[in-house]
């Protein structure tokens, strides 16, 4: 399933600059990570950007602005099948205790596993379709996006130079003029 999602994400990469959101004039461009997760960004921001295939679609906007993401079922990282992925970010960010979990999962569910500093600012914010979790040690941030309609996969974003509000706006596409 994970490979299917990755292939889907890479297919989305190829279509990234051709898929306009509800904006017929092409002012907005959507990165379609899955039917549940899309980021809609101003097309003008892509001027001079380099789009490359990371684990999923990734964009280097400038020397100081990078955004990459991938959808995951957690399988590749060792999350057991059937695990409620909505809890994944909560455990990783320390919002829920992992004491009762097996040792191997405790190792997985830690900021250290992601190379995030223990001093990172942790936040959780609701957005229209679910929750946005973040661990930011600026300029770098790690985001987890969940969707209330399903818990089979989540979106993970790794960014440099983007604020939480920027990511929220990409998820909500609330910057439509």
């Amino acid at each position: 399933m994970f490979k299917t999602l990755i292939i889907g994400a890479l297919t989305a990469l190829l279509a990234v600059n051709a898929h306009s959101a509800s904006d017929s004039a092409g002012h907005l461009t959507t990165i379609d990570y899955s039917p549940y997760y899309q980021l809609t960004i101003p097309t003008a921001d892509l001027a001079g950007a380099k789009i490359f295939a990371g684990v999923g679609p990734a964009i280097r906007f400038s020397d100081s602005l990078r955004l990459g993401g991938w959808v995951t079922s957690g399988e590749e990282d060792g999350v057991p099948e059937g695990f409620d992925l909505a809890l994944y970010p909560r455990y990783v960010l320390g919002l829920d205790a992992t004491d009762e979990l097996p040792a191997d999962l405790q190792r997985l569910f830690s900021l250290r596993a992601f190379g995030v500093s223990q001093d990172a600012a942790i936040a959780e914010k609701p957005y229209r379709n679910g929750m946005l979790y973040s661990a930011c040690d600026y300029p770098s941030c790690l985001f987890f996006v969940t969707h209330h309609a399903q818990n089979e996969h989540i979106l993970v974003l790794k960014t440099e130079g983007f604020s939480i509000n920027s990511i929220l706006s990409f998820l909500e596409a609330d910057h439509v003029e």
């Binding site: 990734a58 991938w70 190792r107 596993a113 992601f114 190379g115």
Partner: protein, 110 residues
């Protein structure tokens, strides 16, 4: 600027930890000090995984020095046999958050 041998060692380490990823391997010529730092952090994040990783790191950091920032850069270039021996000894530890580290490594070259 990394030497060719340092880049080769770095790629071998990456393969050992996250497997063979064509998109990373194809960018080997662009590996730089930021890539070294990303791999260094990835190894440190997984050092408690099992004895193989601890042995590898201890062999890379000769003389029992502690892991201060930049330790990996010093090890590259002469680490080929150590890395190969680790592969022969069994397996690379399952790296958690593998996608995260692949992305971090790719960011270093874009």
């Amino acid at each position: 600027m990394l030497s060719e041998q340092q880049k080769n060692d770095l790629l071998s380490l990456i393969v050992l930890f996250v497997g063979n990823d064509p998109s990373i391997a194809a960018r080997k010529s662009a590996f730089n000090s930021r890539t070294v730092y990303a791999v260094e952090r990835m190894i440190e994040a997984n050092i408690d995984c099992n004895g193989n990783i601890k042995d590898l790191v201890s062999n890379l950091v000769s003389g029992g020095r502690s892991l201060s920032r930049g330790w990996l850069k010093h090890a590259l270039g002469g680490a080929k046999e150590i890395i190969q021996r680790s592969e022969l000894n069994g397996y690379g530890c399952l790296v958690v958050a593998k996608s995260n580290w692949k992305t971090e490594i790719l960011y270093s070259v874009y």
